[in-house]
Symmetry: C2
Subunit: 260 residues, 2 copies
C-alpha cells in the first residue's frame, strides 16, 4: 500500500474497530472502500457505507454524507472526495472522539446485503493483458492468437450495462447457438463452456465533453474507484458469433462487480 | 400505412391542423410520433410533444400526460399507450371539440429545438441487411465478405449510449489510429474515411427479467416505437481496430437518432 498518497494510507494507523487491526484483514483503516448496503432481508433502500474490518459503517448515520446515491458522491470534485475520506479515516482511528457515536452506525458485513455500487452509464471491457490475450486467442485462432493491432491500439468493446450485477448473485446458464467444427449447421442449447475472467474495474466519476480528449496526466482525477469484475463468457457461443463484430450474446448475460 | 392496426391509422382521417392534410406531409394524422421539444433558444426543460403536420403538439398542455419524462410513457402498458394514441388522434381530428383549446398547444416545428427522445439504457447495433453486410464486408475482407455465421445467428454489438445524440447535431471528426497496408507502423490523426449508415432504430420500452426469454409472438408488446438512426463510422480506424473484439473507437464518437 502506497502511504505517500496521503495520511489516510499511513501503515501505522490503527482503528477502534478491533477487527480492522487483525493481520490479513481485507479492510484495515488504510483501505476504506465505498459500497451500497442494507440490513439483509430488510427490503430497505440501499444506502452508502464504508467497509472497516468485518463491519460496514453507515455514512449517512455519521452525518458525513446526506445521500443514498453513490453517483452524487462520484460527481464531487477530487478535493471534496479526499476531504470526505480524511474525515472517515479520522473518525475511525484509535482515539477518535466520534468512536462512541459511530459505533452505533456499524453493521456486521455478515448481516448486510450488498448491491451494485452505483448507476453505470456505459461499460467498456478492455483486453489489456498480453498473456490473457494470447491464451484466449489460441482458443479461437490457434495459429494466430495475437492480432497485429494488439500492441498498438486499445482493444475493447462495450458491454451490456443492464446485466451488471453484484458478486455472489446467481444467474441462469446462458443458452445460444454453437457450431461444432465438424457440424454442417449450428445447434441451440445451454452453453457447455462457461468461463470467467477476473478483471480490474475502474469507475470513472466525471466524464468529458464529447470529442474533448482527457490528457493522460489528468486521467486520475476522473477516476472514482477500483473494483473487481467477473467477466462471464460462454466460450462456445463466443467462438461461433464473434466475427466480425466481436463478442455479444456470449458475454451480455452477466457481468458481476465486487460490492466494494 | 396499415389501417388494420386500429382506427387511428384510417387513411380517411383528416386533421384540423391544415398542414397535416397536405400531400406528401411527413406527419399526417395517421402518423403521430412522440418526441421531446422546447421552444428553440428558450433553455426551458424539454417536454413531450407529438408531431402533426408542420407543428408539434404539447402533450402536457392538452392534459393527456402529466410528465416530461418519455421513459414514464414508455413504462406504460401497451393498452394504456394505445388509449393515449386514440385520445391524441381524436383530439386532432377534424371536428374535434378540443380543437380550439389544443390549437393553443401547438408550436411550429421550425421554432422547436428537439433532443434525444428518452433515456437509453443500453444500445445494440445489429447487422441485419445481407446486402449491407456484403458491401461492408468487402471493404475489410474482399475475398470473404460474408462470414459463415451471418445467416444463422444475430450479429450485433453494444454501442456507447453516452454518445447518442439527436439528428442534425454537430460533432467533431474523430481522431484515431490507422494503418495503411504498406506501412510498417500505424499513425494517429483525423479519420479520412468517415461514413454513415442509415439504420432503423427500435425503442424497447419494457424489458424482461435477466435470463427470461421473450417469445417472438410477444415481442411487439415490448416495442415502444421506431426511429431512424445514423450509425457514424470511421472506416479507416475500424479496419485497424476491429479484430478480434469488433468496432469500438471507430463507432463510439457519435450515433444520431431522429427526434420523432
Amino acid at each position: 500500500m502506497n502511504n505517500e498518497l496521503n495520511a489516510t494510507h499511513d501503515p501505522k494507523l490503527r482503528s477502534w474497530v478491533a477487527s480492522a487491526n487483525e493481520a490479513g484483514c481485507d479492510f484495515p483503516i488504510q483501505n476504506l472502500p465505498f459500497g451500497r448496503f442494507r440490513p439483509a432481508g430488510s427490503g430497505e433502500p440501499f444506502r452508502i457505507g464504508v467497509a472497516i474490518g468485518d463491519q460496514v459503517l453507515d455514512l449517512k448515520a455519521t452525518g458525513l454524507v446526506h445521500t443514498d446515491d453513490m453517483n452524487v458522491l462520484m460527481a464531487k470534485s477530487p478535493t471534496e472526495r479526499q476531504t470526505l475520506r480524511a474525515a472517515i479515516s479520522a473518525g475511525l482511528a484509535e482515539g477518535s472522539e466520534q468512536a462512541p457515536e459511530w459505533a452505533k452506525a456499524l453493521l456486521a458485513q455478515s448481516a448486510a446485503e450488498m448491491t451494485v455500487p452505483c448507476r453505470i452509464g456505459d461499460y467498456t471491457d478492455f483486453y489489456t493483458s498480453v498473456h490473457h490475450a494470447t491464451t484466449v486467442g489460441k482458443q479461437f485462432r490457434p495459429d494466430n492468437p495475437l492480432l497485429p493491432n494488439y500492441k498498438w491500439v486499445p482493444i475493447g468493446y462495450h458491454g451490456r450495462v443492464s446485466s451488471i450485477g453484484v458478486s455472489g448473485q446467481r444467474f441462469k446458464r446462458p443458452q445460444g447457438q454453437t457450431k461444432a467444427p465438424d457440424a454442417a449447421t449450428p445447434s441451440f442449447g445451454p452453453s457447455k463452456r462457461l468461463d470467467y475472467e477476473l478483471e480490474l474495474g475502474f469507475l470513472v466519476a466525471q466524464g468529458n465533453a464529447l470529442g474533448e480528449p482527457i490528457a493522460i496526466a489528468e486521467a486520475e482525477a476522473h477516476l472514482f474507484g477500483v473494483t473487481l469484475l467477473n467477466d462471464w463468457s460462454a466460450r462456445d457461443i463466443q467462438a461461433w458469433e464473434y466475427q466480425p463484430l466481436g463478442p455479444f450474446l456470449s458475454k451480455n448475460f452477466a457481468s458481476t462487480l465486487s460490492p466494494w
